[in-house]
């Protein structure tokens, strides 16, 4: 190699903003030849954004990228390919309508001309044999027919195939998430062989044990920054968890909550996730705020939706004793009626009460809207304006007003404070606690650990199951991370 011992890739001061959200705030990151770098961090810590930059799919707003010692000014996916950098993305990037061999062809511009099908088939079959001996995947299989685990195997094997371009660095983003223990072991063993051969890997995984055992160096990210980077041998599980969670003291609002708690209140919700094997139930009583924690997409939203459905039609395993309202997380697609006014958006959950005769009474609708405008502080000159005249935070307030203004005694919140400014958040937290004190029940799924401080009881989810059940006074961020990153699947 003419570059000698130059880093395969080096990012200096990489920054990236998505609108008002800062995804990366000045990150320095590098990978040397012959090392496996483990990258860990909580949801939204910026790992994926950083990896998209390494792979060339995202361009940093500011900062420099250097590959093999040379500064790259027009770094892109195809440039990354030429320079020997590949990425296995978390979301599968195979074409389901094509065969395994044809999908291999997509990543290799040089597989063309006479006999390309045979060459592609041999290439991918050899790599599958090398990484996953006994895999039972044929190069002629249509990807759409393969199980999700086999698709991940194909995707991983494809990233390691090489034709004319060099291959120096493979990024594996959660490569084992769909693999069983046996194939995951085969893959990690292969990664070690690959690294021993002088090539490099970046391994992103939520299974901390995997990272600790297989990485040479571990980089911990939090809030868009690298907080610690050290040799893997310098870490143990506890140090990793502490680094990810952050040890800074947070102001607690616990006293307020404990004071307002009524003694034995009636049961409102008892629900068991569909995947729950043991007898653990989620239990919520009147006046309680229940937190649903854990990594994103581990069954929290599914359970909320199941509870919502159970309110109108009985379902086994879920008991709901009062009307339910849902505050959607993705307000643009699941919450807002974009053509409607603010008042109409608030009133839709309470139409029965707003009726006079067969028609909706505009007067009652306006009353309801005015009441909530004052109470929740929706900043607008006129509640009859279109909902999009509001800022994002105020739109979210309108959705809270919709739920709280209804007859619902149970309010399900599907991570509703995503992308909302801190001022609005604090106002809504106060309102939630106030309403809970009046006997309403809140089930609150959140990806932001600070929000759990508002809860009386926290259930931690992993793989669609409740894995921990914490009382308010037992809650620490470390505990949540410990449970959601637990190795036991």
């Amino acid at each position: 190699m003419p570059e000698g011992n130059a880093d395969i890739i080096r990012l200096n001061g990489a920054e990236k903003h998505f609108g008002a959200v800062r995804a990366l705030g000045g990150v320095d990151f590098h990978v040397s030849p012959g090392e496996c770098v483990g990258l860990v961090g909580h949801n939204g810590a910026g790992k994926s954004t950083l990896m998209h930059m390494v792979a060339g799919t995202l361009v940093p707003d500011s900062g420099q990228i250097g590959v093999h010692g040379d500064t790259e000014d027009n770094y892109s996916v195809s440039r990354a390919q030429q320079l020997g950098i590949r990425c296995v993305f978390q979301e599968l990037s195979l074409c389901p309508n094509l065969s395994v061999a044809e999908n291999t062809r997509i990543n290799h511009a040089s597989l063309r001309g006479f006999g390309w099908r045979r060459k592609a088939a041999e290439l991918i079959a050899a790599k599958l044999d090398e990484i996953f001996p006994g895999h039972s995947i044929s190069a002629a299989d249509i990807v759409g027919d393969l199980s999700i685990g086999r698709r991940q195997m194909v995707e991983v094997a494809r990233a390691f195939t090489a034709t004319q371009d060099r291959l120096d660095l493979v990024i594996l983003d959660e490569p084992t998430s769909s693999l069983d223990a046996h194939t995951a072991g085969q893959l990690l063993a292969f990664v070690r062989r690959f690294v021993a051969g002088g090539k490099s890997c970046i391994l992103i995984s939520h299974v901390l044990g995997e990272v600790l055992r297989n990485a040479d160096r571990i980089v911990v990210m939090r809030d868009g920054k690298v907080v610690v980077a050290d040799a893997a041998s310098a870490f143990d599980r506890d140090r990793l968890v502490t680094a990810m969670g952050g040890a800074e003291a947070r102001q607690k609002i616990a006293a307020q909550i404990a004071a307002a708690k009524p003694a034995a209140s009636p049961l409102r919700v008892r629900a068991r996730p569909a995947a729950q094997k043991d007898g653990t139930d989620l239990v919520a009583c009147a006046g309680e705020i229940i937190g649903l924690a854990g990594l994103a997409g581990h069954g929290q939203t599914d359970l909320l939706l199941a509870i919502f459905a159970a309110a109108s039609r009985a379902r086994t395993g879920i008991e709901v004793t009062a009307p339910v309202a849902l505050v959607a997380g993705d307000r643009q697609s699941d919450g807002i009626f974009p053509q409607w006014s603010i008042a109409e958006n608030i009133g839709i959950r309470s139409l029965a009460r707003l009726r006079s005769g067969l028609l909706i009474s505009p007067q009652r609708e306006a009353e309801l809207a005015a009441f909530w405008q004052k109470k929740i502080g929706i900043r607008t000159p006129d509640m009859n304006n279109n909902i999009f005249s509001l800022s994002g935070g105020n739109q979210q307030k309108a959705l809270f007003a919709r739920a709280l203004g209804s007859d619902a005694q149970i309010v399900l919140m599907d991570d509703p404070m995503r992308g909302v400014d801190i001022g609005t958040k604090l106002e809504v937290y106060d309102l939630v606690r106030e309403e809970a004190a009046r006997g309403r029940t809140f089930l609150w799924y959140t990806t932001e650990t600070e929000e759990l401080d508002n809860c009386d009881h926290i259930y931690v989810f992993k793989n669609g199951r409740i894995v921990a059940n914490l009382r308010r006074d037992e809650l620490t961020e470390e505990k949540i991370i410990q449970s959601s990153f637990g190795d036991a699947a």
Binding site: A55, V77, S93, C95, N97, R105, I106, A109, D141, D145
Partner: protein, 330 residues
């Protein structure tokens, strides 16, 4: 099976091969469905009117199958990229009018117009990709543009096909009727181009998972332009073939082709999204539609007033069978 396999892995291998067998059977069944429906229509015709199953009968019945097959292929390219072309019918009509006038009187200008119209198709593809417009809206608009241009070129029915085109379409090969040979050729050529070549994979992949294709460094703009240009090319061929058969043109001559082409693609095993298309299936679908459209219904003594409705009923039955089979697959 390798001898060193353990009992456990033998077990998994057996299970997966059974799985794979079931999937392969379902896929084979689905792949055969277009051929089965064609066979069914042919059997019905043979039973109703045995004399139709002859060299002359097929030449007559499949007379219009070539332009329909070409228009179906054009639509298939567009569908392969997850788009829909609502203008192919009036485009075929426009090409027909140009063929019967300019191409005969001033071949160079005529050829230039036709090549230019393929270029317009390519530009439409670029526009749809760059501005992220719904293809249905763009092509619906274009259908009126083509229709208007066709009326400008040929205000009232008439014109005449160029002699070489008439000669080509009147070609009578020994033993096998020309439409069948032409359909086979069209199907095989497009099958090779789209299903076997290395760039055909990229074109189909752009319908299957565009994001993945982009990440692998391919230009989605280029794939869309190529798909639309191919649609334009086959639309031009369809219009010319149509005029070669009918000998003269009319601005409304191709209007029915839009829906026929979509139905042909779906009948032939294609799907509206996901890049799942089959050129040979599409050609068979077009043949089935051409046969079911009027010969079969005429033999069934269904009055012309009811033929359109009966045609729709046949479509619903075949498509329902397809849905049932693909549901079994899951």
């Amino acid at each position: 099976m390798r001898p060193e396999m353990t009992a456990a892995s033998l077990d998994t291998a057996a299970r997966t091969s059974a799985e794979r067998g079931a999937l392969a059977r379902a896929r084979l069944l689905r792949g055969l469905l277009p051929a089965l429906s064609l066979a069914l229509v042919l059997l019905a015709i043979a039973w109703l009117n045995p004399r139709a199953i002859s060299y002359f009968g097929f030449s007559l019945m499949l007379n219009l199958a070539i332009p329909i097959a070409l228009a179906t292929i054009a639509q298939m390219f567009v569908i392969a990229g997850n788009e829909l072309d609502l203008s192919i019918g009036t485009f075929v009509g426009f090409v027909g009018c140009v063929t019967a006038t300019w191409l005969k009187d001033a071949p160079l200008i005529g050829a230039a117009i036709l090549l230019g119209s393929i270029g317009v198709y390519a530009l439409l593809g670029a526009l749809i990709h760059l501005r992220n417009l719904p293809s249905i809206v763009v092509t619906l608009g274009m259908s009126f543009v083509w229709q208007g241009l066709a009326i400008l070129v040929l205000p009232k029915p008439g014109g005449k096909a160029p002699d070489w085109l008439l000669g080509l379409m009147a070609f009578k090969p020994p033993f096998v009727p020309f439409p069948i040979i032409a359909a086979l050729l069209i199907g095989l050529i497009v099958h090779f181009g789209l299903m076997r070549t290395s760039y055909g994979v990229i074109l189909r992949g752009s319908g299957g998972n565009p994001a993945a294709l982009g990440r692998a460094g391919w230009s989605l703009l280029k794939t869309k332009i190529v798909l639309f240009a191919l649609a334009g090319l086959f639309g031009v061929l369809s219009g010319m073939a149509l005029i070669g058969i009918t000998t003269s043109a009319d601005a409304n001559i191709g209007n029915g082709y839009t829906l026929l082409a979509i139905a042909g693609v779906i009948l032939g095993g294609g799907e509206f999204v996901g890049g799942r298309v089959s050129p040979i299936g599409a050609v068979i679908g077009a043949l089935t539609l051409a046969l079911a459209a009027s010969p079969l219904l005429t033999f069934m003594h269904i009055p012309p007033d009811w033929q359109v409705a009966a045609n729709g009923a046949i479509l619903i039955i075949v498509l329902a069978a397809r849905v049932l089979i693909s549901r079994k697959e899951r």
